[in-house]
Symmetry: C2
Subunit: 348 residues, 2 copies
DNA sequence: TTGTACGCGTTATCAT
DNA sequence: ATGATAACGCGTACAA
């Protein structure tokens, strides 16, 4: 029986039963570990199964109402290492409980998100991990409400979801900003994205809070909050440094922004941290090994995925978890060598 | 009908048929676009479907022998950005053809690979993309042979597979090594992993070939080929630099090795490229932005995933592709600032 | 202890 | 053009 045989006849319980000389019910009892089976019959059946290479059809089981033990994960782009870490964390938890994770990229398009949610419904997924792009898109909200499976959000917030997990970005940004303000910075720029989701809101809130606590005014012209791409980082860094009254510190909040911002600073011929201070989020090997090493706001994507999976498991088991449960994963500020007092301060 | 209703009754064709006042066969004809349906009936049915939010059950369709339009992808660890790129490339192609990609990490354990292959068989996956860990593991080979779906390998080689896609590592290593030899290096070390797969073999072959072509002997003590981890990179870099007759150049072939090797070199207080030359593979933002920027052997993981998906699609369609088809993706050597003539040469 | 028959939701075939 | 019904493979209640 070669693998290339074009006519693959699927082997079923009937084939196994015939080969073992028993009825299909007996085969079923054997595989499901019913105690009422003779050792000898069990042997025969197990040998037949092994010889025929039979595996029970998941489709038929699903039709009988068995859970598919399949969980979906929708996010914008798998190439973001943060998502890779979340996936890994979620996968580790889910596989322990016999679930398999199906990942799907939406490219940040609500239409694709909806198509994927429908697909998971058709496939009878038991649950969904979701890093939705726009938290308020009505079509997405309606689809999520009628999905029929529990949804847990990662780094997002939506009323229709059955729970959410996110890092404490507000605290992280507040801490980093306070650090820069304490060094004497008065013009702190932030480059980031996610206007339409909780991450963006929390980061901005943290930045604002630190300014208010220090009584320093925050210049809106220093906020560049439209994208997470490397190219955006490069262009906005250049634009900021070309201002008549440029910032003395830049916070690059988003994995892919740092390389662009670094390049923009280097093209200007500026030195970090002498001419300009720099803080990034999240941590990365680049931030650690570039010269000078970059201060970062760090959080654990792996833990985020793990927590999300655990929360989803509870929902799938039907446990009575309070509505709008939100799990917070901590952020920490890691001081390296990319921040110093602003030039004017040293000069004066 | 709220989403939190604990008793979710699944809505079926029967419900739709009843709501529209037609027979179930008619509903089926409508959704499958049969031409023999009155416009008025079609309207009624479509409205009922929309109102009830019905989606046909994939399980029931699968039972009728319909393809599941599901493709698996097994690899060791999703956090390797190379795999992320491959997944993205494969996903882009597959979704165009209506397939969904199910990714699963094996952690490099053959037992997990086998379990996952069985799982995909149970789920009746239409095909599998596979970056197998050990190409010669007999259990894995047997399981792959009896899987029942076509398998296309990425960066690997196995007789039982229906095709393979890989980068031309032999050429890349040969090119990089020739470059170092031309600069005058005579002791070139390589840190890498993958002893049991084609990538490792090809890289070693390329290193050997360049040495032979230049008539330079290759010292086996300079080969450290046991792992791809950052920690291994660090330790082996230290060990190499501690040798009485240390290498004057190091090739770090494996995404995660570079940060470790860089750290090892820095801890020794050596300067790149004055004291030691460095070449890495694959390219990364770290290699681009670290000082000095690192020469790399580059190849396109995204293209690799794309090509693998295209080949698998042909197999799944039953096209007569020659057995043992192998698609090669090119590698290129990118010169930056991390290689120079060896110190002895400059000194003498 | 083991065998038989039904139903899950869909599509295809036949009858109307 | 539409309605009724068999079949896909499994699990299980019930009969033997």
């Amino acid at each position: 029986m070669t693998a290339k045989s074009p006519r693959r006849e699927r082997v079923t319980v009937h084939d196994v039963a015939r080969a073992a000389g028993v009825a299909i019910g007996t085969v079923s009892r054997v595989v499901n570990g019913a105690p009422t089976v003779t050792a000898e019959i069990r042997q025969r059946v197990e040998r037949a199964i092994a010889e025929l290479g039979w595996v029970p059809s998941a489709a038929a089981q699903a039709m009988r109402g068995a859970p598919t033990r399949m969980v979906g994960f929708i996010f914008s782009d798998i190439r973001n290492p943060l998502y890779s870490a979340m996936i890994k964390g979620a996968e580790e938890v889910l596989e322990q409980y016999g679930y398999m994770l199906v990942v799907a990229s939406s490219d940040g398009q609500p239409a694709r998100e909806i198509a994927l949610m429908q697909l998971f419904k058709r496939r009878r997924a038991d649950g969904l991990l979701f890093s939705v792009e726009q938290e308020n898109n009505p079509e997405v909200l309606r689809c999520a409400a009628g999905a029929g499976y529990p949804i847990v959000l990662l780094e997002r917030e939506m009323a229709v979801a059955q729970g959410a997990v996110g890092a404490d970005h507000r605290f992280g940004l507040r801490h980093a900003t306070a650090h820069l303000l304490a060094l004497g910075h008065r013009r702190i720029a932030m480059i980031s994205g996610g206007r339409h989701n909780r991450v963006g809101r929390d980061r901005l809130a943290g930045l604002r809070q630190a300014h208010e606590e220090s009584g320093v005014a925050l210049d809106p012209a220093l906020l560049r909050l439209d994208a997470f791409t490397t190219e955006y980082g490069l262009r906005q860094a250049q634009a900021l440094l070309d201002m008549p009254d440029p910032p003395t510190a830049i916070i690059a909040a988003g994995m892919h922004l740092l390389p662009g911002v670094l390049q923009g600073i280097r093209m200007k011929g500026l030195d970090v941290p002498r001419d300009i201070s720099l803080v990034a989020s999240n941590d990365s090997q680049l931030a650690q090994l570039v010269t000078p090493a970059v201060d970062v706001i760090r959080y654990d994507g792996h833990a985020l995925g793990r927590e999300a999976a655990l929360l989803l498991l509870r929902r799938m088991r039907g446990e009575a978890v309070p509505a709008n449960t939100r799990v917070e994963v901590p952020t920490e500020f890691v001081l390296r060598a990319s921040s110093a007092a602003p030039p004017s301060r040293r000069g004066g």
